[in-house]
Symmetry: C2
Subunit: 131 residues, 2 copies
Amino acid sequence: MISTAKWLDHIKWNPDGLIPVIAQEADSGTVLMLAWMNRNALQQTVTSGEAVYWSRSRRCLWHKGETSGNVQKVRDIRLDCDGDVILLQVEQIGGVACHTGRHSCFFQQLQDDSWVTTEPVLKDPSAMYGL
Amino acid sequence: MISTAKWLDHIKWNPDGLIPVIAQEADSGTVLMLAWMNRNALQQTVTSGEAVYWSRSRRCLWHKGETSGNVQKVRDIRLDCDGDVILLQVEQIGGVACHTGRHSCFFQQLQDDSWVTTEPVLKDPSAMYGL
């Protein structure tokens, strides 16, 4: 069911009905990831208190951590000045946001003219996803 | 001139040739804004050491702070696991990232079912832009 809530109408959804969402770890300030939400995903995020994104590759709602257990408890939701970007403050359960098993998805650092992996793998992805 | 650098080829540009870029204040951890870069903008960012974005509304390169003086000195550039989001660590000159005169663009907080402005205006926008 599509909600008709005014606060959802206030958002400038892109032509695909999506908005980019930054997830920041509330306690550390670490930027964990960027994903996308549609109207329904944001509504479910608010209702459940856990981040629910829209998977653009799988074309379905994606309750982050539904398989790995690494859910994101949402503490705060902000909208930017243009109404087209959302910032979540989250508690990252399990300490791992990235599907590679790292704390944050931003683990490649530009050094001179190449991307260098600077963050350690904290959990084996095959164990996280039961592969 | 379009650079042929390998580190630029590593990025998954969207169909419009753009990538979303999060700017985070290095010292405070505050997420200041999200904007977009094309290949040329990112190249110029690296060369100049200051954030250069692609303005989707004006369809031109946008050296952040070129009018207001509130440039962003870039300390670190990260790429996410999927290669389609960039995270900058910046020093925000003037302490104001938002065109509304606020520190961060994320000044609207979801409270119950409405967006509430929670951050103060630090600089008069008309003074910043000489209007």
